[in-house]
């Protein structure tokens, strides 16, 4: 099963612009992308359909990480998936060009909250990390099964498809 994450260039530009905004105390910003999905033969295609910034007041102080969401941020994201038939992908950005990778802390934090989304909606959920020009990500197909996004497809006047490294690349 290949997993394609597809978003428009205009959408990703807006997400990057939001994530680049400074926060009062957090070193970086985080948010959620809502996605819809389709299956074509041996491909699972995820379509970014909305962006939901984590509100300023929903960050908590934690100097050991770039940004730490509070429970309220996760509750709001769960509610979106509960009320609409969408999957939710946590997103943050690394401040460089080239392929980004999840840090070990990213991976361990994702394991704490992504599986909970399957309690509200049985669609793919996951996490994405952006750089200034590329992306990497992982998808949960159920609460226990996680795999890497195979291809990022940026759709626009210049259309790009990037066969991305999976979240596991850093372990090789």
């Amino acid at each position: 099963l290949k997993i394609i994450f597809r978003a428009t260039a205009q959408f990703l530009h807006a997400v990057r612009a939001d994530l680049a905004r400074p926060h009062d105390f957090a070193a970086e910003r985080v948010g959620f992308m809502s996605i819809r999905a389709a299956i074509a033969d041996d491909n699972l295609i995820l379509f970014a359909e909305g962006y939901h910034a984590v509100a300023d007041e929903d960050y908590i102080v934690d100097p050991t990480v770039g940004a730490m969401m509070g429970q309220e941020a996760i509750r709001k994201a769960l509610e979106i998936s509960l009320l609409q038939p969408v999957g939710m992908f946590h997103v943050h950005m690394h401040d460089h060009v080239g392929r980004p990778r999840f840090s070990p802390i990213d991976l361990s934090e994702q394991l704490k909250f992504v599986p909970d989304f399957f309690n509200v909606r049985r669609v793919p959920h996951g996490a994405i990390v952006l750089s200034h020009d590329k992306a990497a990500g992982s998808v949960w197909l159920n609460a226990k099964t996680v795999t890497g996004i195979t291809e990022f497809n940026v759709v626009g006047w210049r259309t790009i498809f990037d066969f991305a490294a999976s979240m596991f690349e850093h372990q090789r």
């Binding site: 999905a37 389709a38 299956i39 038939p85 226990k144 099964t145 759709v155 626009g156 006047w157």
Partner: protein, 280 residues
């Protein structure tokens, strides 16, 4: 990579262009006069993955323009998708070609993962439906079509268009190409089989414009960032191609006909994954 060959003569398209084309998945809906030209050109370019959809078999009246078609194919009532597949493989034997002889609505599994859809269909309503599918699956749509109108005895107007629309940009309706008036007229004329003139050189010109738009979309050969549609008009009588001025009068932004919330399969559920891939 699926396609191997010497692409040195098109190396100006960029150092990664060979890889980009080899990895590209293109869907061509309609493999008649326009689509067959497009399939042939994309194979020459080195495109690696084709999804071909057309319900029809070749007829004698298609031989005036269907690239790759032969008299023997007419005798054998060869499906147009098979002719296109044969043509592609004769140029690039290792290309990945998936073909469906049927209406595209019953073969949309071939559309969903495409990077670009080429629409070579007849009629405004079919274009409307196909662009809807392109928007649902967030795919750029490149449309070609031509028309020959009898103006007077022995006097004809030959015209055509090549239009590119992309998700988040204006659609065929926003541009003023698809109008209620045109859709109504088409419905009123439904069943009027008549003879719909088509000629090889005009089909070929429009197909070349479409392939050029595709190449420009995928490679950095020409920097025209900031655009979000293209509408080229062919004046076949004077052999002129020009940018349509219609959007100057009718273009509406942002697009109100399609929403990102309409993307994907509305009935999607993880149970739809193939057996063994739903790792419960």
């Amino acid at each position: 990579m699926t396609v191997r060959g010497d692409f040195s003569r098109q190396s100006f398209l960029g150092p990664d262009s060979e890889r980009i084309f080899a990895e590209a998945r293109v869907a061509i809906v309609g493999l008649g006069g326009g689509g067959s030209h497009i399939a042939q050109q994309l194979a020459h370019l080195g495109v690696g993955h084709f999804r071909l959809i057309d319900p029809q078999e070749i007829e004698d009246s298609n031989l005036n323009r269907l690239v790759g078609g032969t008299a023997k194919d007419v005798e054998q009532k060869m499906p147009k998708v098979q002719i296109a597949e044969r043509l592609i493989r004769s140029i690039r034997p290792s290309a990945d070609v998936r073909a469906a002889q049927g209406e595209w609505q019953t073969s949309d599994n071939l559309l969903k993962d495409a990077h670009v859809i080429f629409g070579c269909v007849d009629g405004y309503r079919q274009r409307m439906y196909l662009e809807q599918a392109a928007r649902r699956f967030c795919i750029p749509y490149i449309d070609i079509g031509m028309d020959i109108t009898k103006l007077a005895e022995r006097q004809y107007a030959v015209a055509g268009q090549m239009i590119v629309t992309v998700p988040d940009g204006p659609c065929l309706s926003c541009l003023g190409f698809l109008t209620q008036e045109r859709l109504n007229k088409e419905e009123d004329d439904y069943g009027d089989a008549g003879i719909h003139p088509q000629v090889v050189w005009t089909n070929g010109t429009l197909a070349s414009l479409a392939v050029g738009a595709f190449v420009r979309m995928l490679t950095p050969w020409y920097d025209d960032a900031g655009r979000d549609f293209e509408w080229l008009e062919l004046d076949g009588d004077n052999q002129l191609v020009s940018r349509s001025r219609q959007p100057e009068y009718t273009l509406r932004r942002p697009c109100t006909h399609f929403s990102p919330h309409d993307r994907g399969d509305p009935f999607f559920e993880l149970n739809g994954l193939k057996k063994g891939e739903d790792l419960k």
